[in-house]
Amino acid sequence: MTVNRLLPVSLIAALLLYGAAWQHLQHERHVFLQENYMDYTLPSRFTGPAAMEFKGIVSDFLFLKVITFLGERIGKQEEFNDQHFQYLEESVNTITDLDPYFWDAYLFADMIFTWDLKEYEAANKLLLKARQYRTNDYRVPYYLGFNYFFFLKDNINGSKYLMEASKLPASPYYLASLAARLSVYALEHRIGIIFLKEMIMDTENEQIKSEFILRIKALEIMDQLEKKVREYKKTYRKLPSSLAELVTAGLIDKIPNDPYGGQFIMMENGRVYTTSKMLRKK
């Protein structure tokens, strides 16, 4: 009799204890993860053979881990540092070794490398790896070209890759002319504006979109200023000594503000740039 009654009572007590222990562990684990947690991915020389014939699904799993881990940090507006860079570089190398055709992984890493980490070389290196495998995909050289143009301000290489992209199947119709103009008017802001407007249509990420809009805004101002400089030159048959002379000549009301927070300046050849170099101030 007593045993029969003792067992359910013990079970209830044990379950209560289990609940308490579980809660405590949750708390401790949370603190532990907050304090010193950095995820890691084993290099592909181990992961590759270990995944055997399940490389595809393992690459999916690793990629899902990467996007949740970094996505959580983006959501929390955390600053990315070297550790994040290392983690992402290692992970994406492993993932794209397991499945060298995995475009999602290339693109995700490319975005984080360029926009968040400013590691343009790493981004381009990765895209060049993608280019070896995804030989028929115009998006690979397209993004390469974009990186050169937008981040590295290297229009020569930018146009080279855009040209390559334009020759691949399913590439947008405007790429060829864009590439051509980018190389001819290598330094014209107008081309950049067209390029960025096309990019906005392809972008879903609101943050990147606003980044593009800001860049377009700056480029449009500079384009406008250069137009005024050319007008000045037509009238006075010489270049203005500075942008301030445009105001004096009555061509503009005042020197506009740089949306990036820098100052617009005119070079000796009449080109207009900004001291911010179109980089957001931290």
Binding site: R45, G48, P49, M52, E53, F54, K55, G56, I57, S59, D60, F63, L64, I67, T68, D99, Y101, F102, W103, D104, L107, F108
Partner: protein
Amino acid sequence: MNRRIWSLAVITFKEGIRDRTLYGIGLFALMIMGLSLVVTGFFLRELHKVTVDINISAITFGGLLIIFSLSVNLMSKDLDKRTIYSVLSKPFSRAQYLIGKFIGLVLLSLTALCMLTLVSTLTIWAVKSQYPVYFKEFVWLSVFQAVFAEFLMFMVLNAVVIFFSTVTTSSFLTLLFTISTYIVGQTVEEVVQFIQSQAQEIQLTTAVKTVIEMTQYIVPNLSVYDLKIRAAHGLSIPFSYLLSITGYSLIYSAVLILLASIIFSRRELT
């Protein structure tokens, strides 16, 4: 085909297909495929890749489980429980017995594979109609080519099961050797490539090198059957390649069954 061998293949197949383990494995594979309906939503663009990855992996995993549990069991139970006495009291030679068993096991794997493929076809189709935009690169033919390659691998592994069950006396050892063969077969190509590419950096004794070199001729190279990644990205597989792996599988299985027949003919069934 010899009517006698076929009759043995049929009862082997029936005995396997009615085993409850099969339903457990089927259910497990279905769960993974169901998971693909949910998980693909987490990814960005290449949903077709993730869906195909998960589905073909589930098919493969289910097929492997069938070999490691059912095929091993169907072979070793004959010896353990002495069902073989009844079978061999019929006019079977030992080789005919092994061939009949092998055909039964391959039929079992094939049927299971067809069922799983049918279900995963429906799963992929469901995801595809949910996110048609992200399935532009998707090609059905590649998926079926990859599944066909998996079938060839299952055939080779069934031959491996037959071989080891004639060599060993316990189902556990057969299982152990079969799984080892699978793992080595899956990795040997990568290991050999790695060693060749890093020849200067890693100092290996010639003995170790020879062993690894020999391994790649003895153990079946199972990496050749892994077309999942190409299928996931909708890349087609040349017909000549498929022909080549088919030939390789048939010849490798035949050699194994022959060896097994020689060993088994000498074995005493006490």
